[in-house]
Symmetry: C2
Subunit: 305 residues, 2 copies
Amino acid sequence: MSSPTAVADPYVSREAAQPELRPRVDPVLHQGGPAPERLSADDLRSFDEHGYLFVENLLRPDEVRELNQELHALAHNPHVRGLEETITEPGGDIVRSIFRIHGLSRLFEWLARDVRVLDVARQILGSEVYLHQSRANLKPGFKGKEFYWHSDFETWHVEDGMPRMRALSVSIALTENYPFNGPLMLIPGSHKTFVACVGETPEEHYKHSLKKQEYGVPDDQSLKRLADRGGIVAPTGPAGSAVFFDCNTMHGSNSNISPYPRTNAFFVYNSVDNTLEAPFCGLKPRPEHIAARSSFAPLEPLDRG
Amino acid sequence: MSSPTAVADPYVSREAAQPELRPRVDPVLHQGGPAPERLSADDLRSFDEHGYLFVENLLRPDEVRELNQELHALAHNPHVRGLEETITEPGGDIVRSIFRIHGLSRLFEWLARDVRVLDVARQILGSEVYLHQSRANLKPGFKGKEFYWHSDFETWHVEDGMPRMRALSVSIALTENYPFNGPLMLIPGSHKTFVACVGETPEEHYKHSLKKQEYGVPDDQSLKRLADRGGIVAPTGPAGSAVFFDCNTMHGSNSNISPYPRTNAFFVYNSVDNTLEAPFCGLKPRPEHIAARSSFAPLEPLDRG
């Protein structure tokens, strides 16, 4: 029996037999951050309303080139290919993602701490932040598979024990995003609704979910309601552009049969006031390279001017 | 030994160990058609140069509605679902395509003969024409799978015995085409190059190829060369819009995880001066609902004003 003073979890998922849409109880923008104000009031309002912000040309072409070279080298490095951080495409040995990329590459660590990225996270989340997850996605040309719709927060809450919605992601394009090479799609405004999913979480779900999602998958009707309300956007632009998006914004991407790969660096910032607890599903935590819990030390900003 | 007067097939494919790009030897526009001139000189030039022509609002909304109702009824009809004309999505029983749709539905037969469609085919192909193939594609929301890149002509030549490039397709949208619901993608200018593919054709290949293509698949390098040269287009627009495209234009489509289905009617017109011979791969012909050979009688135009 729960004590009368215990606060009920507002984001229970994968427990009921029916899916449910519930209003978000946390703010999107948090006050009192330590960072200089990097985003304008208009940008902040837009992020609050739509749950994402597209920034064209956040990185310079020479920075993009260097990051691509580094990533290419990592993806062909037999040692890196053998790590559990490295995920291959279903039915092939093409590298799809490299997790904990900031731990494997100094260049990517610097990028994660770069004030152009980090200070946006600190400003929106209103506190110091740490990296909950990092990765590079290499969605190759010709054979890149889809990522089905999901709210990251639903997974992070249920499987990682992230208590509340006070985290965000940034996807930094390292190749041009066209409408036809499987760009990130988002449902504007969806971050204000929590979609409780059906189905229990199996043991070691993460081993499969990174290739093909089967649990924590929103139902068709909920997705259609969100998309009918907010539409679907797929920001496109040159390499070096970035999409910041709230931890609860519904997103996904289609396959990529075009000859042009879609590569991006992906960082998840979580507030140091929102650190992980035990997973809400009762299972053991996912490994460190997918959900960091060995240290919640704030990231130190790096101003490379 | 071939006689000195025998004409060599300019479009041999699936015989060599290496892929090859060869120039097209047939014209794109044929003179002397029986039809009134439906396309302007500009439209004709554009079709000749790019290998496709997008026509917005070819059909009226009430016509689109009627066709959708008809198609929905067919896709839920147990008799139709049991026909070999009906193809389901891989790993599911959702209807993906219904072939020979003009034989199963009077409405779709009328559409195939409608002068707004048929006279474009007669004008470009410069002769009377018949239906080589017809179908409705229902690419459903959430789960619609990709169609990999292909030249229709490559298949029609090798597997159906269509002698030369004097055929075209029209895809008429019955739902809105968005950038994100797996629209038809084409490589402009690719119709002027024949991509000879590698790999022999297995018996009864069509039974699998309609779900997942494995033979007659262009290689990565050839595709990249064509796309680098011509780019990739994905015409989008309201339901009732149409894309006419040459039989050798390289095309495909990505998956569709959006909630919005992409449904279209698809007709292939072949010149009555280009009727089928024995398949060039030496195997027995594909069935009638995939490649018509029981009659090459010209289609009669229907002017519904």
